[in-house]
């Protein structure tokens, strides 16, 4: 689904991504893990063209990234934090995204119903709690039935009920053949969801492969320990 060849990016003199080569398989859930500042978000933002890469090639499905925006129609992105215009109401915001994406049919409103968003519709964004904003964020990224979901710490500020509902939804859509790219610091969550794992450290990919293979290679049963093991190996 996603092919990345020789991707390089630096901010000023600091190399955030050093020659990334990566291939993300269609129809699977891939998790990106790594310490803070290892380049996870930069990698995600490069795929979305939010960050202009210095060198390399990224292709998604049959599209090669070239500055055009149409390919993002097949992506649902859920950022870590979003601030929507404060004076808009929830229903205006949802209308706006539908309008911008030019899609009024084929909508996936399951999360909207599960998160009981109906009663929040007339409220202004500034009157919503942090968790509700994050729910809204999730609803919007799932609403347009994309082929590829990119979720940056999706459950970080959700309550346990919403968090498990979101995870159920991820599993359900994955069964429908959708591809997921998820970052998370929560190893249990990754073990629960992902089948592939990309481990990044200092802008490089330390491991890329299936979860079961990682456990086998590091001879660990538990993902947290396997990752810790990997970090020790990459330091030596």
């Amino acid at each position: 689904m996603i092919e990345i060849i020789n991707l390089k990016k630096s901010f000023d003199d600091f190399k955030v991504l050093k020659e990334i080569n990566l291939s993300i398989r269609e129809g699977e859930i891939t998790a990106i893990v790594g310490p803070n500042g290892s380049g996870k978000t930069t990698l995600i933002k490069s795929i979305l063209d939010l960050i202009k890469i210095d060198f390399g090639k990224i292709s998604i499905g049959k599209y090669v990234l070239n500055g055009k925006c149409e390919y993002r129609k097949q992506i649902g992105y859920m950022p870590q934090i979003t601030r929507f215009p404060e004076n808009l109401t929830v229903s205006q915001l949802i209308e706006m995204i539908k309008d911008i994406r030019n899609q009024t049919g084929n909508l996936d409103e399951e999360l909207f119903e599960k998160f009981l968003m109906e009663k929040e519709l007339p409220k202004q964004i500034k009157n919503l709690s942090g968790g509700t904003k994050q729910k809204l964020n999730a609803i919007i990224s799932f609403m347009f039935n994309p082929q590829l979901y990119i979720l940056d710490e999706p459950t970080a500020s959700l309550d346990p009920i919403a968090s498990s509902e979101l995870k159920d939804k991820i599993i359900k859509e994955n069964k429908n053949g959708k591809t997921f790219l998820i970052t998370s610091h929560n190893m249990h969550e990754i073990e629960e969801l992902a089948s592939n794992i990309i481990f990044m450290i200092d802008g490089e990919i330390a491991y890329c492969g299936s979860l079961s293979n990682l456990k086998f290679e590091t001879k660990e049963d538990n993902l947290e320990r396997a990752i810790a093991n990997l970090m020790r190996l990459s330091k030596n």
């Binding site: 901010f11 202009k52 925006c69 601030r83 929507f84 215009p85 808009l88 706006m96 995204i97």
Partner: protein, 259 residues
């Protein structure tokens, strides 16, 4: 697509309390001026002087804070199938249109209703200057915000730029003229004036009113050098250029920016 972005941004901006305070300020100022002064020319001069200070200040501060506060929202919109250029233009219009119209309406309405003998040319001029100054300073604020990632720094530069154009520039300008008054100063003066959009706007208005006493040195030179009509055209075009250049540079860097 620009229209869609504009539409929802207008929903947001028109409900902001700052835009309401801004309109009320000009509405009340105009009413007070009309109430306490009979001489129409004096009213316009006072109004214009207030406008020349307040419009650039509000536009540049409002623009800069708006841009920084919308950063996550911009990032979110750019992850949608949306051209960067469309977003930039939509955001610019979504801010400059409500700002321009709030001042135009709040100044024009009291004048139209309260003055019996109308001078439409001057009303038009006051509004055109407000429109131009708003667009110039919103464009400058966007350029500053695109080039600086740090909000405090961006805001600092905006305020500094306003201070320079509104106060410091004139002081240095006057000092230069006094120091070099043995030399022919017409051309350097004209060039220096065109480098300050606030001075240019002042000249634009003064060239069209017959208050030569209040025109000042640069106004007199403009009048003598080009004659009314050409001087007007040149200062008007320079002002348009002052809006277009920062806008295009802002757009250029916005297209390359990392979010």
């Amino acid at each position: 697509m620009i229209g869609k972005i504009l539409k929802y941004q207008l929903h947001d901006v028109l409900r902001s309390k700052w835009i309401i305070i801004y309109s009320l300020f000009f509405f009340i100022t105009t009413l007070v001026l009309l109430r306490f002064e009979d001489n129409t020319t004096k009213i316009f001069i006072s109004l214009m002087n207030i406008e020349l200070f307040v419009v650039p200040l509000v536009s540049i501060i409002f623009g800069t804070t708006f841009f920084y506060n919308s950063k996550e929202y911009i990032t979110f919109l750019l992850s949608q199938p949306l051209k960067r250029k469309d977003l930039f233009i939509g955001m610019f219009l979504g801010l400059s249109l409500p700002l321009s119209f709030s001042i135009i309406i709040s100044v024009t309405l009291p004048i139209l209703f309260l003055i019996s003998k109308q001078n439409y040319e001057i009303i038009l001029l006051v509004n055109i200057t407000a429109l131009l100054l708003t667009n110039i300073f919103v464009a400058l604020s966007f350029l500053i915000s695109v080039l600086n990632d740090d909000k405090a720094k961006g805001l600092g530069i905006s305020i500094l730029l306003w201070l320079i154009f509104a106060f410091v520039y004139d002081g240095i300008f006057l000092l230069a003229i006094i120091s070099f008054n043995d030399y022919p100063l017409e051309i350097p003066t004209l060039i220096l004036t065109s480098l300050n959009p606030i001075d240019l706007s002042r000249i634009l208005i003064l060239l069209k009113t017959d208050i030569s006493v209040l025109m000042g040195y640069t106004g007199a030179i403009f009048n003598n050098f080009f004659g009314g009509a050409i001087g007007f055209a040149i200062s008007f075009l320079s002002l348009v250029l002052w809006a277009i250049l920062p806008f295009s540079f802002g757009l250029k860097y916005f297209n390359k920016k990392d979010f």
